[in-house]
C-alpha cells in the first residue's frame, strides 16, 4: 500500500478520535489531552500536504502554547468539584442531530461537479517556486519555510504587522483580565 495513503488514514483516525474525545470526555483535563492528540494528527496531515513549516507552527503554537494555556486554566479553576452534575445540555440529543445534518449539508458539496471532476494535484514543487521563481535558478529550489517567509514578508507585510499589533492587544487584554483586582485600572 502507498505510504501516503496509509499515513493519511492513520492521521485522519487520530484527528477524528481526538475530536470525538474532546466533546465526550467528562473531565476537561481529558478533553485537553484528546485535543492535543487531534492537534498532532493535524500536524501530520500538514506534512503530508507539503506544509512542513505550518506543521512545525502547529506543534509549537497549538500543542505547545495553547495547550499549556488550557492546562494552566484547568489547574486554576477547580473543575473537579462540579464533576458530578451532568456535563452535557438537556437538549444534547437534538444538538448532535443538528451537527450530523450540518455534516451532511457540508458533505453535499463533495458530490458537486467541481469536486467530482477533480484534476490531479499540482506539482508540489510549484508550492515552493510560485512566489520566488525569479530569484532562484531552476536547480536550486528553496524549502517550504523559505517560500512562506518570502511571501509573508513581502506580499503579506501589512497583515503581518497587523497580526503583531493584534497579539500585543491580546496579551495586554489577557493580563488585564487575569489580574486579581480590577479596581486599580479605573
Amino acid at each position: 500500500v502507498d505510504p501516503s495513503v496509509f499515513f493519511f488514514w492513520v492521521f485522519a483516525a487520530i484527528v477524528v478520535v481526538g475530536a470525538l474525545g474532546v466533546i465526550t470526555m467528562r473531565q476537561p483535563l481529558h478533553s485537553a489531552l484528546f485535543l492535543l492528540m487531534s492537534f498532532l494528527g493535524i500536524a501530520g496531515l500538514f506534512i503530508l500536504n507539503h506544509a512542513e513549516f505550518l506543521a512545525a507552527v502547529q506543534v509549537l503554537v497549538y500543542a505547545g502554547g495553547v495547550m499549556v494555556l488550557f492546562l494552566f486554566t484547568i489547574m486554576l479553576v477547580n473543575v473537579r468539584k462540579q464533576a458530578r452534575e451532568p456535563y452535557v445540555n438537556r437538549r444534547a440529543g437534538i444538538s448532535v442531530l443538528a451537527g450530523f445534518f450540518l455534516f451532511l449539508l457540508l458533505g453535499s458539496v463533495l458530490t458537486g461537479p467541481a469536486m467530482v471532476n477533480l484534476g490531479p494535484p499540482a506539482d508540489p514543487a510549484k508550492l515552493r517556486t510560485t512566489v520566488i521563481e525569479t530569484k532562484y535558478a531552476s536547480e536550486e529550489k528553496p524549502g517550504n519555510s523559505e517560500a512562506v517567509a518570502w511571501s509573508l514578508y513581502r506580499d503579506y507585510l501589512l497583515p503581518f504587522e497587523i497580526a503583531s499589533v493584534f497579539l500585543l492587544v491580546a496579551m495586554i487584554g489577557a493580563v488585564v483580565l487575569g489580574k486579581r483586582t480590577m479596581e486599580k485600572f479605573d
Binding site: V15, I23, V131, V148
Partner: protein, 100 residues
C-alpha cells in the same frame, strides 16, 4: 489514492464535531476547545486546497488563522478565569444573567 475530496471530507467532519461540541457541552473550557477544533478544520481545508492548486497563499492564510486562534485562546481563557472568580464555576448555565 488520497484526493482533495478526502481532506475536505475530513475537514467537514472535524468542523461538525466542533460545532456539536459547542452545542452540547456545558463546560466553558470544553466549548473553547471545540472552537479550536473548528479553526483547525478550516486550516486543514486551506492546506488541502493549497496542495491541490499549487498555491502558497493558503499557507499564509492558515498562519494568520493560527495567530488569531492563539489570541482568542488567551483572551477566552482569561475571561474564563475571571468568570470563575466571579461565579465560582465555569458552567455556561451559571452565566445566564442576560437570558431573556
Amino acid at each position: 489514492m488520497v484526493t482533495l475530496t478526502h481532506y475536505v471530507g475530513l475537514s467537514f467532519l472535524l468542523f461538525s464535531i466542533g460545532v456539536t461540541g459547542v452545542l452540547i457541552r456545558r463546560n466553558l473550557l470544553t466549548v473553547l476547545m471545540s472552537i479550536e477544533l473548528m479553526l483547525n478544520a478550516v486550516n486543514l481545508n486551506l492546506i488541502a486546497f493549497s496542495r491541490q492548486l499549487g498555491d502558497l497563499n493558503g499557507h499564509l492564510l492558515a498562519i494568520f488563522i493560527i495567530t488569531v486562534a492563539a489570541g482568542e485562546a488567551a483572551i477566552g481563557l482569561a475571561i474564563i478565569v475571571s468568570l470563575y472568580r466571579l461565579k465560582g464555576s465555569v458552567n455556561l448555565d451559571d452565566a445566564a444573567e442576560m437570558k431573556g
